[in-house]
């Protein structure tokens, strides 16, 4: 059974803190993705990675960075959290061009 896990379901941080969101998949997928989801805006792609150490910016990369040192793990980093980064963050993985498998999401609140 395929599985994508995210390190936290809920997270509360203060403005200016550095925040790490971790995502792990056990399906040996090449591609991994980070989205944020906000009411009325659907899912917006922040960054994705198509191989170890490879990454591409999505539609809204500003204020975020990512790291993929191992194939199964993709980390999203908020260098200095701001209140407008309060959101639901969803990680997904896939083989090339195919179905994406999503984690349960991390609801981040930045105070």
């Amino acid at each position: 059974d395929v599985k994508v896990t995210q390190s936290s379901r809920y997270l509360v941080k203060r403005t200016g803190e550095k925040v790490f969101l971790e995502c792990v998949q056990d399906m040996d997928h090449e591609n991994m993705f980070w989205y944020r989801q906000d009411p009325g805006l659907g899912l917006r792609l922040i960054y994705f990675s198509y191989d170890v150490k490879m990454k591409e910016k999505g539609d809204i990369p500003e204020g975020y960075s990512v790291s993929r040192e191992k194939k199964e793990r993709f980390s999203l980093i908020l260098e200095s959290a701001s209140t407008n980064q309060t959101s639901m963050y969803l990680c997904a993985s896939s083989r090339q061009g195919e179905t994406q498998y999503f984690g349960p999401g991390t609801r981040l609140l930045v105070l």
């Binding site: 994508v4 591609n31 993705f33 989205y35 009325g40 805006l41 659907g42 899912l43 917006r44 792609l45 994705f48 198509y50 591409e56 999505g58 639901m88 969803l90 997904a92 090339q96 061009g97 195919e98 179905t99 994406q100 498998y101 999503f102 984690g103 349960p104 999401g105 609801r107």
Partner: protein, 111 residues
């Protein structure tokens, strides 16, 4: 919007009725996928339809694709209260690795 449109934004029906959701897009696609999201959860893949396919079925789900009109529809037949969720279409645009999601349709099935 570069993503296209999904309509309706919200749909409320009685159990046993059919539900139809529509998705349009603006540029050429390799495939189009439908996902479901229960409240506060990650997305679950339902169906993938490729650009050279016109219709696909999976249980009570039927997806059509009209590339000349750049549109797709998802039909859920004989709906159940458990079908209550948000439904998203995701386009894999030609030349892009990642999917482009719309803002979704919120379906409420009344028992």
């Amino acid at each position: 919007s570069q993503q296209g449109e999904e309509d309706p934004q919200a749909l409320s029906i009685q159990e046993g009725e059919n539900a139809t959701m529509n998705c349009s897009y603006k540029t050429s696609i390799n495939n189009l996928q439908w996902y479901r999201q229960n409240s506060g959860r990650g997305l679950v893949h339902l169906i993938l339809i490729r650009s050279n396919e016109r219709e696909k079925h999976s249980g009570r789900l039927r997806v059509t694709l009209d590339t000349s009109k750049k549109s797709s529809s998802l039909l859920i037949t004989a709906s159940r209260a458990a079908d209550t969720a948000s439904y998203f279409c995701a386009r894999r645009l030609t030349g892009r690795r990642a999917l482009t999601f719309g803002s979704g349709t919120r379906l409420q099935v009344q028992p």
